[in-house]
């Protein structure tokens, strides 16, 4: 894993341990956005991982049904859109 991805993962973990208990978990997905971000950074590196995590957070709003949404595997050209419920 690159230093950039490592640093970003550190930031996400720091969020999970400090800010999240305070503001509460509000994620509509499984895995949650922060876990998704950790996994995406690990498997796709800093740039694409951050891109995937950013898109996930944008999806995570009241107008999206949410649900299961795993990190796409390496090699997938586009992340699988969550089928509309």
């Amino acid at each position: 894993m690159s230093a950039g991805a490592q640093a970003l993962r550190g930031a996400v973990i720091a969020y999970q341990w400090t800010l999240r208990p305070f503001i509460g978990a509000h994620c509509r997905f499984h895995p949650s956005c922060s876990h998704y971000a950790l996994e995406a950074l690990e498997t796709h590196g800093a740039l694409r991982g951050a891109w995937l995590a950013g898109r996930r957070i944008l999806r995570c709003n009241p107008w999206h049904p949410g649900g299961e949404d795993p990190v796409p595997p390496v090699g997938a050209r586009h992340s699988q859109p969550v089928p509309k419920g």
């Binding site: 341990w17 400090t18 999240r20 208990p21 305070f22 503001i23 509460g24 978990a25 509000h26 994620c27 509509r28 997905f29 499984h30 949650s32 956005c33 957070i57 944008l58 999806r59 995570c60 709003n61 009241p62 107008w63 999206h64 049904p65 949410g66 649900g67 299961e68 419920g85």
Partner: protein, 609 residues
């Protein structure tokens, strides 16, 4: 997952969060006590007739050159020129050409109307020296220049708006140094420095102006409030706290920060007060420097903080000519945002409002300030303005919250089905989680509002919190009941039964201070959480239960205005959630899947069902 370790990690992180507040509290209070003692000492010393011998000055710019002051300290008392503006009161020290005595009219030290006025500048022979000074360095090494114990003559009997004063000092070798001072209606002094050379030879001098603080003031110790060096130089905000300046200066021979460029402004800021220098000609190049120095003083090695503006190169003054000058403004007063903005517009001082620590969210905090200020002026009470503004923000986010709270209400109806899933997959939480997600999808509900709305709301509510923390509007602003100062902690205390017992337990430990508003905040937070379903993760659920208690203690020592804001915010959330849940509760379980649009419409409808 090893839950014990996770729990421990969370406990540690909460500990870190708490330490921001709790560990700082005793130190802060000790510092406040020390500050009060210092102020008392300053007042006492000013009442004494004979000044004490001056301590050794430093010479950061190679000036002033009166290092021998300790040996031959002048015995006659220094002459002083009154400074009398509509908003300031003080004297100018004619020995050394220093503005070292200034109090702010209209700002009292405490809420009591008869308490002393806030003192911004204080002389060197006091306990908290803080002053502005104008002078020259002899760049040619032979021209005698005025020093700290040079006695200046003044043309004019007092410095007031429309009554400028000119200070003169003749070095006896053909050069006359002049400082023309003018005061405006508020907090700005403009100083014009020049040298008249009547000698036979050209002289080389370097004019400078400085602000010097010869003690380290007590600071609030909060990360969201900057105190220390501040300035906008070459278009960039440059901030150094006392500690960062100290460590930086230790590496670079006393210089914490240095920049040469056109114009700008720089000074030293407190939470509410500022002293700053700004060249009159914002196109002219100056070298601005932040310095942190150690000097021997009455209490051993003492800290000195200095901001100075000097020309990049010495100036040659030909025989018979007048030159060697510059014009630099000095701001010494309260950081009233509208006043700073007015100075920015009128005098061209760039981004002068950044003296108030609006922070990274400037684009939110600045407009929020203006709205709060406006509401405060029409409602007549800043506390009410906070309540009204929070209500407006809540209403703006209502569509988001409404949608999520509605589905949360529907969740309760789905309760039995969820319980069934939990029972069935007791051994496999991950499987239970994904089954739950499938259920949400088929029933078209989701308990959470999502991460995006939270992410959007965080900066907004943080910005409001920050504005309340940093602006002077809260200072000594009253509220209902026992709150007479929104910027100070609520004075009531549970541990002496709100004054029934004749002692103050907070004297023994700052942890023994539990004001009424903090309790109200804790209670509202508790009830708000009760309306939410517990988080699925048991570790988080446990932590969640403790949050109201932790926050009650954390906010106990915070400014009352902030605690009132938190309480009100929680109360509004409760009201909102309760209304929606009551509406949804009238639906039958089978109707849980009806489209949202079919439910009684709220104040604002989401765009899509």
């Amino acid at each position: 997952m090893d839950q014990k370790r996770l729990l421990a990690a969370i406990a540690i992180s909460i500990g870190i969060l708490l330490s921001f507040e709790l560990l700082n509290r005793p130190t802060r209070e000790a510092q406040r006590a020390q500050q009060a003692a210092q102020q008392a000492a300053v007042v006492q010393q000013q009442q004494q007739a004979s000044p004490l011998p001056l301590p050794l000055p430093s010479n950061p710019l190679g000036t002033p050159t009166d290092a021998a002051a300790a040996a031959g300290a002048p015995t006659s008392p220094a002459a002083r020129l009154p400074v009398d503006g509509p908003r300031v009161l003080g004297t100018l020290n004619l020995r050394g050409a220093r503005l070292d005595d200034l109090v702010l009219k209209g700002y009292h030290e405490t809420v009591a109307r008869d308490s002393p006025l806030v003192r911004l500048l204080a002389p060197r022979d006091g306990a908290a020296p803080y002053y502005a000074q104008w002078g020259w360095t002899a760049a040619d090494g032979r021209t005698p220049v005025p020093g700290n114990d040079s006695d200046w003559t003044a043309e004019g009997d007092r410095l007031a708006p429309g009554k400028p004063v000119t200070l003169r000092w003749d070095n006896g070798q053909g050069q006359v140094f002049e400082i023309g001072l003018a005061l405006d209606e508020n907090y700005m002094v403009t100083a014009e420095q020049r040298v008249r050379n009547t000698g036979a030879e050209a002289v080389q001098v370097l004019p400078w102006a400085r602000i010097r603080r010869e003690h380290t003031p007590p600071t609030q110790g909060f990360y969201i409030l900057h105190e220390g060096f501040v300035g906008v130089l070459d278009g960039r905000l440059r901030e150094e706290t006392y500690s960062s300046a100290k460590s930086e200066a230790a590496k670079r021979g006393g210089i914490a920060f240095e920049q040469e460029g056109p114009g700008g402004w720089a000074g030293i800021t407190d939470k509410y007060w500022l002293t700053a220098l700004a060249p009159v000609d914002q196109q002219a190049r100056f070298k601005a420097t932040y310095r942190a120095l150690q000097e021997p003083g009455a209490k051993g090695q003492e800290e000195r903080w200095q901001v100075d503006f000097a020309q990049p190169a010495p100036i040659v003054v030909a025989p018979g000519a007048t030159g060697g000058g510059q014009a630099i403004r000095l701001f010494a007063g309260a950081k009233e945002v509208n006043l700073l903005d007015a100075y920015s517009n009128r005098l061209g001082i760039p981004d002068f409002d950044k003296a108030v620590d609006f922070g990274w969210f400037y684009f939110l905090t600045k407009p929020f300030f203006h709205i709060l200020h406006f509401l405060g002026s029409i409602l007549g009470n800043f506390g009410v303005a906070i309540l009204v503004f929070t209500l407006v923000l809540k209403a703006l986010f209502f569509p988001l919250a409404n949608k999520s709270y509605r589905s949360m209400a529907k969740m309760k109806v789905l309760g039995p089905k969820m319980q069934e899933i939990r029972e069935r997959y007791k051994e496999d939480p991950a499987k239970a989680q994904s089954e739950m997600m499938a259920l949400y999808r088929t029933e078209k509900v989701n308990p959470a509002s999502g991460c995006l709305p939270i992410l959007i709301q965080i900066p907004v509510f943080f910005a409001l919190y920050k504005v309340l923390f940093v602006t002077i509007e809260m200072r000594h602003a009253p509220f209902f009941g026992w709150i007479h100062d929104l910027s100070a902690p609520d004075p009531t205390n549970l541990f002496n039964l709100f004054g029934l017992l004749p002692f103050d337990p907070a004297h023994w430990s700052s942890y023994l201070h539990m004001p009424a508003w903090a309790l109200i905040m804790g209670a509202t937070m508790f009830f708000q959480q009760r309306l939410n379903p517990a988080p699925p993760d048991p570790v988080q659920a446990k932590l969640f239960q403790w949050m109201p208690l932790i926050f009650t203690f954390m906010l106990a020592g915070m400014p009352a205005g902030l605690v009132i804001y938190w309480s009100w915010n929680n109360l509004l959330s409760i009201a909102q959630q309760w209304t929606i849940q009551r509406q949804a509760g009238q639906q039958k379980p089978g109707a849980a899947a009806v489209p949202v649009a079919a439910l009684p419409a709220g104040a604002a409808k989401p765009k899509k069902g």
